[in-house]
Amino acid sequence: MTTYVLPLLIGFFFALTLQKAGLGHYDKIVNQFRFKDNTIMKFMMTGISVGLVGVYSLKDLGLLNLDQVSSTYIVGNLLGGLIFGVGMALAGT
């Protein structure tokens, strides 16, 4: 159940929101970089904010351990981000 069914459900809603926000379209991604369409910023920041409140509320209630925190190594993250942006602008995905 946890291994197979749960990720299916989570993935379903995850991709549904992505598609409904219009992120499947080339122009939405590229127009964010051209400052013509702020959909991605609005979508991502709302998602992060809601998730932030959710995760930290659960943590403070003692229902969750923050054991999946992405490890920070500044050079890797920054370099990866810089290369990633090139690919994203080329492909528009």
Binding site: Y26, S71, L82, M88
Partner: protein, 176 residues
Amino acid sequence: MSINNAMKKKIWSPWIAGFILGVTATASYYFAGKTIGSSGGLESIDSILAKTLHMPWANAMYFKFQMPPVISFQIMLFVGMLVGAATSSIWSKDFKLRTVPDRQWVQQFGPSKVKRWIMIFVGGVIIEYAAGIAGGCTSGLAISGTMQLSPAGLIFIAGLFISGIITTKILYGRNF
């Protein structure tokens, strides 16, 4: 508004979609103990392929321990994502087989299919490579990482926008 009406709409307000994304991400963390991510699944698939085909790099440290060749959480997440996106786009009649994007692409780069396919392939390779360096992609690092206040996510978003804006500026030139 009924669910049917909502699903028939091609585009939702990004605030509403973002809210559902946040709830989904929290639910994933709480129920499965895992964060949402897409690039890791691809590497697990790579790992399985390398092992089945007896590639020499299947024994590399990375594929043995970092991305072991098992049907992981993220591969199942992939399947769910395909179904979710297909449901969303077919229900709203947004689904269509496209060889080039409907909007904007042709005006800027001309009608050539080959050009689009080369660019999206190169872009895809760069994206996955960079995700390997950074330790995650837009969903796995930028959203799930920042959600836990990990500095990694914020650094990644900053880098992504810096080079994304510069690359788009170069590609679009005067039309930026």
